[in-house]
């Protein structure tokens, strides 16, 4: 749910990175944080366990520039990917404007990807959203690994809707900004549509 603030001339949108444990959601945010001009970003918050697994969420506020005199700000969140943190994932999806599903391309993670995608659909529904109607893109991460599944196989399994998808290797930044930019565009286009 975007927030239009006429007083500060700001529009705020919430984007959530979803996906199975260890797929690279936090790595996406870390790369964005590392490569963004300090004037355009706030502090990155990571609520993580001692072993650096996401416990509740990571959060990164990002400014993109102005549209029609309104500053556009995106709040990026990740969910904890591990299956047993489902209650936390539900909470983080509240008020979401756009979703990036980060899939782990490794063949042995296919089942975890599918399970997480189902979980996303269910948790969105709990919040009154339908995956088909939310600005949504998929990132196939870890493309650089030797055990990565072929792209068409991943698409067949995870992207039957044919939403925009991107190949990435978040640890070296490839595909990270492309994915973010695309979902941000979809969110803003959605805002335009809703404004009519």
């Amino acid at each position: 749910m975007s927030f239009i603030n006429y007083s500060s001339r700001e529009i705020n949108c919430k984007i959530v990175y979803y996906g199975p444990g260890l797929c690279g959601k936090t790595t996406n945010l870390q790369w964005i944080y590392a490569k963004t001009n300090p004037d355009l970003k706030g502090k990155m918050i990571s609520l993580a366990t001692e072993t650096e697994r996401t416990l509740f969420f990571d959060f990164l506020p990002l400014s993109l520039g102005q549209i029609r005199g309104f500053k556009t700000r995106f709040h990026l969140y990740t969910v904890p990917g591990q299956v047993f943190y489902d209650a936390s994932r539900k909470l983080i999806l509240k008020g979401v404007d756009g979703v990036i599903f980060v899939a782990d391309s490794q063949i042995e993670r296919m089942e975890a990807n599918l399970e997480s995608m189902d979980n996303l659909r269910i948790n969105l529904k709990d919040q009154g959203y339908e995956l088909e109607k939310v600005p949504f893109v998929i990132q196939f991460n870890k493309r650089d690994l030797p055990n990565a599944a072929p792209l068409d196989e991943l698409r067949r399994a995870l992207n039957p809707l044919g939403v925009p998808d991107f190949e990435a290797s978040a640890h070296n930044g490839s595909g990270v900004f492309e994915t973010l930019k695309h979902v941000a565009k979809l969110v803003l286009s959605d805002l335009k549509r809703l404004g009519r």
Partner: protein
Amino acid sequence: MDSQMVMYEEDHKKILVVIGRLVREANAKGIFVVDRNGQLIAEAGEVRGIDTTSLASLTAGSIAATGGLAKIIGEQDFPVHFHQGLKDSLHITMVAGRWILVVIFDERSSLGLVRLRVKKAGADMSKIFEDLAKKADAEAASGTSPFAEITDDDIDNLFND
């Protein structure tokens, strides 16, 4: 699903009046109003040096987590939270179900005084938020959002590196 949230200048000013008064009457250090989804709405008092965006996001996360705990034990919500620190403490209250009022105070005030003053301010704010919701619904129905006019070029221009 929540509707889109809008804040107008005149309502923002009304909120600032209420929290400005609350700072004085509760002897508080600083006050923040945050939306349940983690957006900062307004602030008053000594707030310099505080990372307000992080504060808003973490407050919303904390409220969401304790709200989840409440439901597990059969409660609707825990509407009041108090975190006591060595020097500074936080008093957090839900207002009108969707807004969060955060009061930071130190030894110049007391929990009792803060609670008393927050009660009155919360009631005043509820009224403002009710009016705001009606206004936002009316605007949504009439389709006068400033974003109806944005073009694809406007959006593309944001991403020109």
